[in-house]
Symmetry: D2
Subunit: 425 residues, 4 copies
């Protein structure tokens, strides 16, 4: 019996002995067997879950027929019950193993990697998503502030996971946990060492446009009364929980916490990347760019090569055109087929959906290789104005209207805006 | 607008604003409104959940039709999704309120009280049960030993909840937490002050047949090496979690804990009530009792009245007949319509289903008014023999075979067994 | 070898092996041996500590001689070192046992009981007091609020220890922990289950004069903004820590905590017993009472017997004379030989020394047998006025000036004050 | 008023208001004032404590005179009381400040630095040592295992403090906390973030002689049953607690913990530096070294310069002579004036005093610059044999007898021992 067959046998057996006291150690055996499975056999195992742990089609057919004859609420409930595939119960049993939830989350991460090439496994993912969405209900998440008194075993996860502005070692991490910084995470009791999502905040006295100002400045011991909270990084850590949205509530709950703790705060803004900008721009034909100021457009070819990165004068030359293009990209360019129309940029979609407005583009906000490669070094501030959030959400959800500052609108329309205008608030 | 209408309005509105940061306080408003609702309006509110928070019948019909045309796994998943009633999502949103889970459990307790008179609300209960079963998955329960260092706020719940042998005040409770006793509970992070189910155990040196020996004896400081763990009470505390089984795992997990802590333990037994015995016996006609030893049967009429309770000689007279009848009730009498046949007595069903055997009937094991009223004062030991549990479960689940000691079988067959025989092991 | 000799041998041996790794278990042996010693042998054991664990008199004589020749600071230090008796080091070694501190506190409680009949043991107590005062330095005490979430093992100590108004069971205790009550204790890490001293506070809307109003009223759920904190009981729990003062800081630290938590509080008062009043009064001759209003004095004989307790008219008759006498007792009567003069009443001494003023006498404030027996049922409020505390302390410490309200002064001077005047603020 | 005068004024005032509720904030003011004092004024401030916070010399003279007249125990107690300088009470008051203990420990560290040039301040240090020794009684220390789940704020202290084998960053630290390593510390509640002393242990399968084997080997996942615990580093972290011995108990308590946790352990050894060896050796004249094998001695001059460090053949040449010299240094060379004789090497003194034996010299055990500079790269194992510890202590304490292995004795006697002989056990 090879290891895949053994795993399948154990899985079947777990279901058969679901009420026994041994279910927890039985589930642990299944998980061990899965974890020692050769990765190339995973698709086969998920196929087994699809093909063998199915719904009872006879019962479901019968329930569907009954319902169609008499389509009432009780019939719908019966249909719902009949449509439960065995694999869902299987996952509930797996969860009884020590660290079961963690293993299920990791299994789903494996499964998601296989989906593009194995679309037939989507029905298996549906079962994973169903149970995980229930278990990771917002009501079971704990918002926790992480700081220097947090166990190292949790803090090292932040270093490993940070996806926006990499944390380069413990000194960098410590800087982000000083008294003028905050780091909040959602935690779940089933994964006690794992921040599920975390957000990093700088407490400052103005809307900051440069990530270096956030990351490298020494702690502001003199900043007695910060006015502004900058959300400069937000990271989802668990690929296996993809599709379960945490970020929306996290930002707003953190805003509430900060407001309570520091009454002098009156401005909440992000400092965000524009991840798809250059990819998009390089895909634009000349005609696509006709909306642009012709003088600006003429400079675009300089973007090819790396000269513009290395020479300040080349950067200066490109600044107006790229600022226009980026504003246009964020404010005007839509995701194909979205209705109501939605921005192409995923970060913009996220914050606008949450009720923020596009506030300010920042030239050379992130001159790191990653920043230059994604967005020619630009960063953008999204502003969360508590009084306007609901109106923004309604407009955006309704017909796709995007809230933006005058500068953004002017740039997006191909007008030239001086750096000073942009920088000022 | 009356308070029912207000609650319904808030409920509808919660769904409409499900992605907003205010969802948690919005959910709290719904819960407050529910809790201040006149109890007589509750049925109407649950009716609202049934009638207004339904499935999308158009979509479900369409999914059912598609499935019947092409009954594959993907169609079943689509059907499952389409069969989700809105009220399930509504409960998930409610759960975001502080203490949301607790409130939902309490709401379901209210709902279950209404069901007998409002069977149409079963479809609503199906939604409650669906989400609660998922959230209270065995994997999320924490087995905790409760003792005198436990917060008073939790301990007082034990006094309030104990259903088998009432805890009469803090001194009685303290006795049950001494060094020769154990009390284990399942806890859940969403109800941090609530033991969901708890079991009380006495560590002794023999299988005890009298509850007074358990409850009133002073702590056995000299019992260095107990051999026997008596599970003398097991209590489910949350009516709102009815239908979600905890007891099975609790007993077996506690057996494991005790075995690890106290290696000298080699016997695990319950000391259990026979709650339905006298009700059943009084419903028996003469013909029903023909199986019984005629001499014994002749004494039965003495059971009417209370003389037998007050006079030892009357008790002595009744003992043989009642012991036979109780053994017969436990071992032979079945629940009508059960297939394979199942005992009529619910406690017997529970322990036999878990793999125990009926070990010994104890005359005057519980001479309290409750004990006398339920079972003429008899208690029964169910024995958990780790080596036999699986075989017992398989036999019981298979064809209904009940494991029982020779004494029980003899009594159940209408034979007379001397008290000494019964008492000895 | 009898058990006293064994204990003495172990004690000597502990000193001889003080640097060995076994010191902790060795110390535990000494403590066990002490705890199983016949109580009648305790005096002999403390005598052993006095006679055998002495200072090195040769060295001390030599140090004393040196110092007298050249009385400088270094000589004083040397003298201090030479004057250290071995028994102090012995106690430091005892402290290495598990729960050593607790045992030393208990040993000192035993010792204090023996002192009156064994004044020669005072030198032993000096060693206990020296180490305990150092270990229980105010800086090592933790102020903790105890409430219903506190472990039962700590709460039961409150029931056992409460010395002023007995807590009659868990329901009474719970009432004192409701949301309109507070209970604060000092805790020390070496005695984790023992509140060293605790104070009970009622949050109300006026200065309360009746203990029944405090203890039996249902929780004031409507009292959104209490104005007044009544300290109605303060209890030292550890006789073995007698002579180490905790109460002074406790009251003031609790005032600070309450002020922070509940900004509406503007009045802090006690509701205190007058424990020595009737004993004092019964010892007064006619001449002693000449200061009193003659009409009042004439009624005093009625105080003999118990008629005045049982009949309201008799009480009414005595009220003016007892109120005068009590005010006089508190305000005017001094402890013999105190200089500057100090009140005879120990509770008055305590609060006046802390900066309070005598605010109001309350007739029938405590009609319990204890209250009637101590002070004819009267209670007194001491008022802590944050703005006046320092001035009060300085005046009291300086020349013994007592701060008191006009009513107290009038009564103490033998004038009649109507009940209404007294009751009003 | 300059800052020194201000500090002195605050200090005097703290004593004058010692019973007031403000004592804690008053003490905090003194500490703040001390901490912002110019370091060059510290000696003056400690001089103030010496000159102004003195004993009452009149009272002490009188107590000394009385005692000399009648030298009994009560007189000794009175003398002890009279010899208490005010500065001791002052320190007790300082301790009431938040983090007071920590500040007092730090003040003493400052004071100890000043002592060599200001021997007159020793009387001030006596007061510090008196209170700290009492507060840091062994009974108040908590042995805690530190690992990767420990807060980063504590772990970073380990990196900062490690004095024997520097921890170079978090990765190095993490290696020392893996499953085959242990790190134990003594903690005190008054300094919750500060390990007072910590010891690092490697769990291995033989007595290890090379620090690189300890520090750089990957975790031994296969080492199911380690036989040997190597204590390879022990660090006192608080200069302000100098003179209060923790190490003795720490090693033995950790041995007990490890023995309980891992029953397969049967050997406990250190891997220790020989810090004073080369300094001593370079101070030896030719006559001093006459005990040595002449052939070996002839090679010694090669030790000047650095050639021997860089060339293996030069090391090889020196090995025999240095091994002999080191064994001689550890085993034979005594601290001048010690009686009974004690080794000159402080690490040897420490472990021999604790009952260890000198077990094995390890050539090139620590080839780091520090190791080469101190001891020509040699390390030594001290062996803790539980059965022999008490006998070793008694012999060492008695007449200075040193327990050592045959190899050590042979080397110390100037005999040549082959490397193989030394390496084997």
């Amino acid at each position: 019996m090879n290891s895949l067959e053994r795993l399948e046998g154990l899985s079947t057996s777990l279901l058969a002995h679901s009420r026994e006291a041994t279910v927890s150690s039985h589930a642990a055996e299944v998980i061990d067997a899965y974890e020692s499975l050769d990765p190339k056999d995973r698709a086969a195992y998920f196929g087994f879950l699809r093909d063998e742990m199915t719904v009872d089609h006879d019962a479901l057919r019968s329930a569907a027929t009954s319902y169609l004859e008499s389509p009432d609420e009780a019939g719908a409930v019966a249909l719902g019950t009949a449509s439960e595939p065995v694999r869902r119960e299987f996952l509930r049993l797996l969860n009884t193993a020590p660290w079961g939830t963690r293993s299920i989350v990791n299994m789903r991460a494996d499964l998601l990697e296989l989906l593009p090439k194995n679309p037939g496994l989507r029905v298996v993912d549906a079962a994973f998503l169903h149970v995980l969405r229930s278990w990771f209900n917002q009501g079971f998440l704990e918002l926790r502030r992480l700081d220097w008194s947090t166990p190292a075993a949790i803090l090292e996860k932040l270093i490993a996971y940070e996806a926006v502005h990499a944390i380069v070692g413990w000194d960098d991490l410590r800087r982000r946990l000083e008294s003028d910084r905050r780091l909040y995470a959602y935690m779940h009791t089933a994964l006690p060492d794992e921040p599920l999502i975390f957000v990093e905040v700088a407490l400052v006295d103005r809307i900051v446009g440069s990530i270096e100002d956030v990351l490298t400045q020494p702690p502001a011991v003199d900043l007695a009364e910060p006015t502004t909270a900058i959300f400069y990084s937000i990271t989802n850590t668990q690929p296996g929980l993809s599709g379960i949205s945490f970020g929306n509530f996290l930002i707003k709950q953190v805003m509430g916490e900060l407001q309570r703790e520091i009454p002098t705060l009156d401005t909440f803004s992000t400092l965000s990347p524009i991840p798809g900008f250059l990819v998009w721009l390089r895909g634009q034909s000349d005609e696509d760019l006709e909306w642009m100021d012709p003088g600006a457009r003429a400079r675009l070819p300089a973007l090819n090569g790396t000269e513009w990165i290395d020479f300040p004068w080349a950067q200066q030359d490109l600044e107006p055109v790229l600022m226009q293009a980026a504003a246009h990209y964020l404010y005007t360019v839509k995701r194909p087929g979205s209705n109501p129309p939605r921005p192409l940029d995923p970060v913009a979609r996220f914050h606008l959906r949450n009720g923020a407005s596009i506030h300010r583009l920042n030239w050379m906000g992130d001159p790191s290789p990653k920043g230059l490669g994604e967005s020619a070094g630009m960063l953008v501030n999204y502003l969360y104005d508590a009084d306007a959030v609901i109106a923004h959400v309604e407009a955006f959800v309704g017909d796709g209207t995007i809230a933006a500052s005058d500068q953004i609108k002017a740039l997006a329309a191909g007008r030239t805006v001086s750096a000073t205008d942009v920088a000022s608030r």
